[in-house]
């Protein structure tokens, strides 16, 4: 089937309307597919797309400081290709790459743009497979219905299923479990948020627990080894966004149990380990990890002690906003609220497609839940709530910069700062330490800035009264305004608002000193 040159795809019932977007929390679908394909060893992706759509290669090379060429080639769609149809070019490029680099697998994906052409790409793949020595696969995602995260989840499942079915057909599928308890770690991928260090930490954790790591997928995995997946005793899916579909497939087909508790924070790490213990013992392992958990909690991880220390006491009741992907936003909300006594006024996620899970996880730990991928909505919420700190993405970090609120970055979209060279896992026991530092530094460096602001003006004889926008329907007397100006900058906005609310409720149009103090007594403004 040739490209429909006349444009518009068939109506599919979509009702979303054009959106004004300044910022995206998750990338387009093909990014997810490419992350999976290029995480595997010796897998190549062919991107059927116009010039300029192949910036995935730039992201991988620059953000991960990757030493190797990214195994993704754009089969360029230009005006000529559009006119002639792209089948020949795509098939040529697949077979050419098959010859040039002998990949085990070539994955073909369009982008949002080329998917509009509604070409029969499966047919392209079938044609190319005739000549290619390696496998050829069309990534099966709808580029307008799913985002990067969902597409990645789906592509990983698709590749796993492909190789397991292939092995089954060949009668090449090992059926026995490994002798010792073993695990597949599913969902570690290139351009994932701190994935590399998390993976190291998870491997250490498994080693501590006496569990062999059977396979880690997709990062660094060979598709030839996928057939060995069912030999593991269980699957561990640390991130909710990537790997669950694969784990579900493995559970359905091979009855493999799955642990999908993210081991982030002291409490959740313990819960994850206990779940593993339960699954292993159900298979006759007879392990007891309680002593290990206790030892790690009290002596190895410093996070529990940090929670009890005076530094953390001073954070008690401070307000924080959390925003990110499901995995990190939910885990962070629990850590802040449950382990550190910090008041989470809002927890939010941009994973709209999985909102119910998020709400169920965080509702008891926060005042408000926000499910949105509109950065303006999050910015407005932060400005309204004026938290003492934010834990969010790079976007929230910049919102915080504008509002002068410190922000610790806890989730993708990824940024080069999320590929530190030094060891910075978020998961496992060392992860609890790193998170404790992040929390502490976010609050205290914010406090330091405020202190500098307060004391900075006292250097000279001339005392400069710090200005504040008199943007209000209420009239502040000079003395009340002067007193308000003495309130430290980081709570001044809140005091002002509460005082005005108090005045409005009482029908006062002027805020005198007396009103100011009365408000403080009444509402703790």
């Amino acid at each position: 089937m040739q490209a429909k040159k006349s444009g518009r795809i068939q109506p599919t019932g979509g009702r979303d309307s054009m959106k004004l977007a300044y910022w995206m929390y998750a990338g387009p679908a093909h990014i997810g597919t490419l992350r999976i394909a290029s995480s595997f060893k010796n897998v190549h992706a062919i991107m059927h797309a116009p010039l300029g759509d192949d910036y995935f290669n730039v992201m991988r090379s620059m953000l991960e400081r990757e030493r190797d060429f990214t195994p993704v080639t754009a089969s360029v769609v230009d005006r000529n290709v559009l006119a002639r149809g792209s089948q020949e070019k795509v098939v040529d490029n697949i077979t050419r790459k098959d010859r040039e680099e002998s990949p085990d697998l070539i994955v073909l994906t369009p982008t949002c743009t080329s998917s509009i052409l509604q070409e029969d790409l499966q047919n392209f793949v079938d044609r190319a497979q005739l000549d290619a020595r390696g496998d050829v696969l069309l990534a099966d995602v709808n580029h307008y219905r799913v985002n990067e995260l969902q597409a990645g989840d789906r592509t990983l499942q698709q590749i796993v299923q492909f190789y397991l079915e292939k092995a089954r057909k060949k009668g090449d599928l090992p059926t026995e479990k490994t002798a010792k308890p073993s695990v597949n770690i599913i969902g570690i991928s290139t351009l994932g948020f701190h994935n590399q260090h998390d993976c190291t930490e998870l491997k250490r954790l498994m080693s501590d627990l006496g569990i062999e790591v059977n396979e880690v997928i997709p990062e660094g995995a060979s598709v030839h080894n996928l057939k060995n997946l069912p030999q593991a005793w269980f699957n561990l899916v640390p991130y909710r966004e990537l790997g669950l579909m694969t784990a579900q497939y493995l559970e359905q087909e091979f009855g493999m149990p799955c642990v999908d508790i993210t081991p982030m924070g002291v409490v959740e790490t313990a819960r994850c380990i206990r779940k593993i213990q339960q699954l292993l013992n159900a298979q006759g392992a007879g392990v007891d990890y309680e002593e290990y958990i206790d030892h790690q909690t009290r002596h190895v991880s410093q996070a529990a002690w940090f929670s009890r220390s005076i530094d953390c006491q001073n954070l008690t009741g401070k307000k924080a906003v959390v925003f990110g992907d499901n995995t990190h936003a939910a885990a962070m909300t629990k850590i802040l609220a449950r382990e550190m006594g910090i008041h989470v006024v809002l927890a939010g996620t941009y994973c709209k497609y999985d909102a119910d899970w998020f709400k169920a996880q965080v509702s008891e730990y926060c005042d408000e839940v926000l499910i949105s991928d509109d950065n303006g909505a999050i910015g407005d919420a932060i400005a309204r709530l004026e938290p003492a700190a934010i834990f969010g993405t790079q976007m929230e970090r910049h919102i915080g910069k504008r509002l002068n609120i410190p922000c610790g970055v806890i989730a993708a979209p990824i940024h080069i700062q999320n590929f530190p060279i030094g060891y910075r896992p978020f998961l496992g026991y060392e992860g609890t330490n790193q998170v404790a530092d992040l929390v502490y530094n976010s609050f205290t460096l914010g406090m330091e800035d405020h202190l500098l602001e307060i004391f900075g003006g006292h250097d000279t004889k001339e005392v400069i009264t710090k200005g504040m926008s008199a943007d209000s329907d209420l009239n502040w007397t000079k003395e009340a305004q002067a007193t308000l100006n003495q309130v430290p900058g980081f709570v001044r906005g809140k005091v002002k608002r509460n005082t005005e609310k108090f005045a409005r409720e009482r029908g006062l149009s002027e805020i005198s000193l007396e009103v100011f103090y009365a408000a403080k007594e009444a509402v703790g403004a």
Binding site: S6, S17, K19, W23, P28, G52, D53, R79, N93
Partner: protein, 464 residues
């Protein structure tokens, strides 16, 4: 027109390969900064938006003066009314930012679904009362920097052809104002009519470079009547039939054509003012068209070369390979050959031999004068094949897009990002140092690492 003939001594090739450049919508990243009262609306998909956010390194600027009109399934499938949808967004932009102009940037997607931006814009412009300029900066037809070409070509239509009020004339002539501001009244009072027909320059350059080039011409008695684009949309220059125009960037062939064919301007075809050699040639060509004898240019150029000597010592005799990215390749190669380098290959996404004719001629002449062989110019190169050639040639420096730099470095090949030349100030005499600062940085850095015996550190890591 004054465009030179196509040169013949150069070897041109077209691989029509799989190559990487940035998407032409990139141009919003610099154009929204250049035109301070503008708002750029990129009408495309998530793929376009994520590109702008990530690859251009602009993700840190929350809510800059550009945004995506993100096409959703309903838009693609034509269930929704394009006009109403765009109107809704543009009204929102008007409310939030109140720009003097909204530039619609069409993308591959608007091409494929044949969204009639040119048809919608005038109607919407009339309805909401803000000028709407449309540019088809799509990757089906253009590469990277050509995005600017599509925008400037569209804006060329919007330059007024006659100014009525004096006040507007004053505003339109902001550059002249800047240059005379602060002078004594008698010096400027009789607004001396220039001794030559009006000249308008085109190409988006940072303001200091605009001032600098304007001053260089002024020194020779050439008055610049205006620049396309100006600092503000409301200051777009007056263009009347018969005006002379000259480009400052090699990727503006469509703008040049529009100015010639639609605005009946006369194009001065010159090498581009990049490097002291190019800058001198550019000024000389403009002067020659106006019958002016340039003063002191040779000395000026010589002095600049002298001041570059410390850098030149680092690169003389070294080879540089252009993989091809931003269409600045010919000009940069010509300058670097003049600096004493050799250039085995110039990859370039698109080669307009007519618009770049004077530059190509200067390149050829430079090669002859420097006694080096002429580069192989490869249009639409195949990056995979280029990597094989690089492996064979082992050039001292590869100027390349961002995707290939780290892997080449890991294999012991010095690289410089081509995109940096797009964003740096490289035009005019004064900025020649800045070009060499960029070019020599990897050489200086890797020299210092080499002294350490770290050369083999990553070289054995893998083979190309």
């Amino acid at each position: 027109m004054t465009v030179a003939q196509e040169p013949t001594g150069l070897n041109f090739d077209c691989e029509t390969g799989n190559y990487h450049t940035f998407c032409p919508i990139s141009c919003v990243a610099w154009l929204y900064q250049k035109i301070e009262d503008s708002f750029f609306l990129v009408i495309g998909t998530k793929t376009c938006g994520y590109f702008l956010q990530n690859a251009m390194g602009v993700m840190i600027f929350a809510e800059p003066r550009y945004a995506m009109a993100e096409l959703e399934e309903g838009d693609i499938s034509a269930q929704l009314n394009d006009y109403e949808e765009l109107k809704r967004l543009c009204l929102q932009i008007k409310r939030d930012r109140n720009p003097s102009v909204i530039v619609w940037i069409g993308t591959c997607t608007t091409e494929i679904i044949k969204m009639d931006l040119e048809g919608l814009a005038p109607k919407l412009e009339a309805e909401i009362g803000i000028p709407i300029v449309t540019a088809r900066a799509n990757g089906l037809d253009y590469a990277f920097t050509q995005g600017e070409d599509t925008v400037l070509a569209a804006m060329a239509h919007r330059c007024p052809s006659k100014v009525t009020s004096e006040a507007e004339k004053e505003e339109r002539n902001a550059i002249q104002k800047l240059l005379t501001f602060g002078r004594k009244a008698e010096e400027t009072a009789p607004t001396s009519e220039p001794k030559h027909p009006p000249l308008v320059l085109f190409g988006s350059l940072p303001d200091p470079v605009v001032t600098n080039l304007t001053l260089e011409l002024k020194k020779q008695g050439v008055e610049v009547s205006g620049w396309l684009p100006a600092k503000r949309y409301t200051e777009l220059p007056v263009i009347e039939e018969g005006y002379y125009v000259a480009g400052v960037n090699p990727f503006l062939s469509r703008t040049a054509t529009t100015l010639m064919r639609r605005r009946k301007c006369k194009l001065i075809g010159a090498p581009f003012p990049i490097g002291p050699d190019g800058t001198r040639a550019w000024i000389e060509k403009i002067c020659s068209v106006f019958g002016i004898e340039p003063q002191g240019l040779a000395e000026r150029e010589a002095k600049i070369w002298e001041s570059l000597e410390d850098y030149l010592q680092l690169i003389r005799g070294k080879s540089v390979f252009f993989m091809g990215d931003n269409l600045l390749e010919i000009s940069l190669a010509r300058f670097l050959i003049r600096c004493g380098m050799t250039v085995p290959e110039i990859g370039i996404p698109y080669m307009d031999k007519r618009y770049q004719a004077a530059e190509l001629a200067l390149l050829e002449k430079t090669c002859q004068e420097m006694g080096v062989s002429t580069p192989n110019i490869v249009e639409k190169p195949d990056n995979y094949n280029q990597l094989q050639r690089i492996k064979a040639i082992q050039p001292d420096l590869v100027i390349t897009g961002m995707a290939h730099a780290n892997p080449l470095e890991a294999r012991g090949i010095n690289t410089k990002w081509s995109v940096e030349f797009t964003f740096a100030q490289i035009h005019g005499f004064s900025n020649a140092r800045d070009i060499l600062e960029l070019v020599t940085r990897p050489l200086r850095r890797n020299n210092s690492l080499k002294d350490l015996g770290w050369e083999k550190l990553v070289q054995e890591e893998a083979t190309v």
